[in-house]
């Protein structure tokens, strides 16, 4: 089974259209709204709306018992489909191989923030974990009713809920091919901050059996055998190739563009809109050549930067644009007055770049000691708090 599905083979819509999927509402307290939305779903043959507060926006149990995990972020080669598959399988108590992760298709996933800032697990995974845990809670509740057994007696193994005796029922039997219609507690945010947990308790890390296991990625072999298309490999009918033309110096814009300079390259078109300049052509090599040959007059020819030889003077004389102390701990002046040992910072005047304590708690002080701020801090042993405040000042002053 493929861990992540291509858009062309999405199961959800096909299941929906072919199988006449139903939406079931479960859990305590079915509101009028929920009832209406079930009715609507029935009438239209669709699932509940793709909104962040719907459990069905993240998790669906297919008729064959496999699980679809709809993940609103995109993998950029880190193997997120493995991690998300593990997280969902773990909280749902289904085998890892039974989870399909469908990533970043805006038709079937909510906006969890795309690919950015290594947030795939820490924010995206957090939500998928909460959703999977809620799905399990709801399924166990359904099973308790079906099996006429108290919830406390139920255990789940590989997607089958058992009551300890002969009685058991699978997720597929409970909801397979139908959608959850369960409301989550959405924090009303989209993108990375999106969080919509249910009522379920998450598993403790000590209980994890699937999360933490080394599982091989299924995208490695296609890459190794040149069977995987990267974005640059995608070709669509009627596609043209484009090349940007950029100025030699920052802040420069095109003033005059001589289109006749590329007229001997067949089919080249110049695209010029204010500061944007590019060429397109049917063939890639034609676009490349046109980008090289196009004669352009630019507004600036000299660099809008201070003279390199006077760079430090420029920095010293630059005015502070913003100074903001976010948090103040202790008193720097007081700390300096009472310090056992004083030393001057090693900088040549004001910093021209960001300097701040950006440190995960697990980093050792010796590691940070390599930075200049770290050294300065070490010499001011009288007050860690005071020097921390100083660092924050510096950061803000130089932004």
């Amino acid at each position: 089974m493929t861990k992540y599905e291509k858009m062309s083979s999405l199961t959800r819509r096909s299941v929906l259209l072919g199988g006449g999927a139903l939406v079931v509402s479960v859990g305590a307290g079915v509101s009028l709204e929920t009832v209406l939305s079930i009715g609507k779903a029935h009438a239209q043959g669709i699932k509940p709306p793709l909104t962040p507060e719907q459990l069905s926006s993240y998790i669906a149990v297919n008729a064959d018992g496999t699980v679809s995990a709809f993940f609103g972020k995109m993998d950029m080669g880190h193997g997120l489909h493995v991690a998300i598959g593990q997280i969902v399988a773990e909280e749902l108590d289904v085998p890892f191989k039974n989870v399909k992760v469908i990533m970043a298709d805006t038709a079937v996933t909510v906006n969890q923030g795309g690919a950015s800032g290594s947030t795939g697990i820490q924010t995206g995974g957090k939500q998928m974990r909460a959703a999977a845990a809620e799905a399990r809670r709801v399924l166990v509740e359904m099973a308790a009713s079906q099996l006429s057994a108290p919830i406390e007696r139920l255990v789940v193994n590989d997607g089958v809920v058992s009551a300890g005796d002969d009685k058991s029922i699978s997720y597929a039997q409970l909801i397979g091919g139908k959608y959850f219609n369960v409301q989550l507690d959405w924090n009303k945010q989209y993108g990375n901050p999106l969080y919509a947990p249910g009522k379920a308790q998450l598993k403790k890390p000590s209980e994890h059996k699937i999360v933490g296991q080394p599982i091989k990625r299924e995208d490695v072999a296609p890459k190794v055998f040149a069977q995987e298309n990267f974005v640059t490999d995608v070709k669509v009918p009627g596609m043209v190739h484009g090349r940007m033309i950029r100025p030699a110096v920052a802040g420069s814009v095109p003033v005059k563009v001589d289109e006749s300079s590329v007229k001997d390259i067949a089919g080249v078109r110049v695209v010029w809109d204010k500061g944007f300049l590019g060429v397109v052509a049917d063939r890639e090599w034609d676009a490349i050549q046109a980008a090289q040959k196009l004669k352009v007059e630019w507004s600036n020819t000299s660099l809008p930067f201070p003279d390199q030889s006077a760079l430090y003077d420029h920095i010293r004389n630059a005015s502070v644009r913003k100074r903001q102390i976010e948090k103040e701990n202790g008193n720097v002046d007081e700390a300096f007055k009472n310090a056992a040992k004083k030393s001057k910072p090693s900088t040549n005047g004001r910093s021209s770049h960001t300097r701040a304590w950006v440190r995960p708690a697990r980093w050792s002080r010796s590691r940070m000691g390599r930075s200049r701020v770290g050294r300065a801090r070490k010499s001011r042993t009288s007050s860690n708090k005071a020097s921390r405040r100083h660092s924050v000042c510096r950061l803000k002053a130089s932004v």
């Binding site: 950029m76 080669g77 880190h78 193997g79 091989k216 990625r217 995208d219 490695v220 072999a221 890459k223 190794v224 055998f225 040149a226 995987e228 298309n229 990267f230 640059t232 490999d233 070709k235 190739h241 063939r283 890639e284 090599w285 490349i288 050549q289």
Partner: protein, 155 residues
């Protein structure tokens, strides 16, 4: 002016109309439609575009059509298949080397030629042979492990 070129790529003969100054890379990608090799820098500095010309690694982004002649061209797709993988491909899967995998072509093609000519290389020799390649994901240690594994497989 374009000219007619005959290219033997992975054992299949293709006829391509192209500017003699056009780099081979664009013939392979655009005319023949291979998704390997990749454009990385266009300056022969990263290796993502590497192919074999008569078994020797060449940077196709700076290899002009007119210089190819009748050399046999091998791309990553011609190195091995899932059914019959090159030892390097098997080792890459075993070691789970790539992160994004965009540069994979260059490392595999360069290492394949190196391991063919140098049996039981030392780590220093492997590092030296692969020094002209770039991987921005930083998978170098995994690459090293995979090349060592493949070298063992190749005896």
């Amino acid at each position: 002016m374009t000219q007619k070129f005959t290219l033997n790529v992975n054992g299949i003969v293709h006829t391509v109309d192209a500017d003699p100054d056009m780099p081979l890379l664009y013939a392979l990608r655009d005319n023949i439609g291979l998704n390997n090799p990749h454009f990385g820098c266009g300056l022969a500095q990263c290796g993502a575009c590497t192919v074999h010309l008569d078994g020797q690694p060449a940077r196709s982004c700076v290899t002009t059509m007119s210089s190819v002649g009748d050399a046999k061209i091998t791309t990553l797709a011609g190195l091995g298949t899932p059914e019959k993988p090159h030892p390097l491909q098997a080792a890459y899967i075993e070691e789970q080397v790539p992160q994004c995998g965009y540069c994979i072509n260059g490392w595999l093609m360069t290492a394949a030629a190196f391991l063919r000519d140098r049996k039981k290389p030392t780590e220093a020799e492997i590092r030296d042979a692969l020094s002209g390649l770039k991987c921005r994901c930083g998978t170098h240690i995994s690459i090293l492990k995979a090349v060592k594994r493949a070298a063992e497989m190749m005896g």
